[in-house]
């Protein structure tokens, strides 16, 4: 009976608890890329509004539709990059990509996100688009906080930052666009870089 064996027991217990309840093969690199897509998309939307809509975004017309399309493309690209890089990392870690832990993570991430997405679509259809930037940040932040219980715990802090930015955006809708750029663009790049160096290396 040596203390070394007891230490190993404790670390085995912790390891098994984490492995069986959390999906941790998230890729930091996909966060960086999602941030870059968001910045490019925001630049395109900004350019469209400045050039063709004299700086004011109105709810109807092709400029608005193009902005929505840009947003949809960013979301699609970010999600597919995330899935691709995470699958690659899971393979490298010897983890299964679709098991109880990843299923639980996806479900808990999607619940606030889908509710938020539907809510934004509903208020957009009512013509209240001033809040949509802030609402996107808030619901995305809540999704991250919720998902952090089933993944790398650190992503909750990114969630709190997004929620904070979103609340500022709700209070000052005029800054909505720039807060969105900070939240989805810059914060993703900073956070992704941090995650990349903390978890991806090794």
């Amino acid at each position: 009976m040596e203390s070394k064996d007891y230490l190993k027991d404790i670390s085995d217990i912790k390891d098994m608890m984490n492995k069986s309840s959390r999906f941790i093969s998230l890729s930091g690199l996909s966060g960086i890329l999602a941030g870059i897509y968001a910045l490019i998309g925001a630049a395109i939307a900004y350019w469209l509004v400045i050039t063709y809509s004299s700086g004011v975004l109105t709810l109807n017309g092709w400029v608005f539709e193009s902005c929505l399309l840009t947003l949809a493309i960013i979301a699609l690209l970010s999600i597919s990059t995330g899935i691709l890089l995470t699958t690659r990392k899971a393979k490298k870690d010897g983890a299964k990509i679709w098991d109880t832990t990843s299923r639980r993570l996806v479900i808990n991430f999607l619940i606030p996100l889908i509710v938020g997405g539907l809510y934004i679509l509903i208020i957009l259809s009512q013509g209240k688009y001033g809040q949509s930037g802030g609402l996107m940040l808030i619901f995305y932040g809540l999704a991250l906080v919720n998902a952090s219980k089933y993944s790398i715990g650190d992503i909750q802090y990114l969630g709190y930052i997004q929620i904070g930015l979103g609340l500022i955006g709700a209070y000052e809708p005029g800054y909505g666009f720039w807060l969105w750029v900070i939240g989805f663009g810059i914060m993703h790049i900073i956070y992704g870089t941090w995650m990349h160096f903390k978890y991806d290396k090794s």
Partner: protein, 97 residues
């Protein structure tokens, strides 16, 4: 010496320790999930789950999903308490050194 007595012999094996660890943080786990996580063979895992079941530390439910039989395991209240005591004892032993 009293600490040593809290070390539970029922958990004194890698597989059994693993089964309990998984079931402490999951509502339930089925046979295949345990097998994959622990890297154990069918026979080996079955003998360890039986041992824990005999101590009444885990509960076994057999059911059918479609036509496939499915066995799922969960902890009992007794099992949770015993495992917590075991972890406490391990930690105390480590801190003493």
């Amino acid at each position: 010496m009293s600490i040593i007595t809290n070390i539970n012999k029922a958990f004194d094996h890698r597989i059994r320790l693993g089964i309990m660890s998984i079931l402490m943080v999951n509502e339930y786990a089925d046979f295949n999930m345990l097998k994959e996580l622990l890297g154990a063979t069918d026979g080996n895992l079955a003998s360890h789950t039986k041992a824990l079941e005999k101590e009444e530390y885990i509960k076994v439910e057999k059911q059918f999903i479609g036509r496939k039989p499915n066995t799922r395991y969960s902890t009992t209240k007794l099992g949770r308490e015993a495992f917590k005591k075991h972890i406490d004892a391990l930690e105390k032993l480590i801190n003493k050194q």
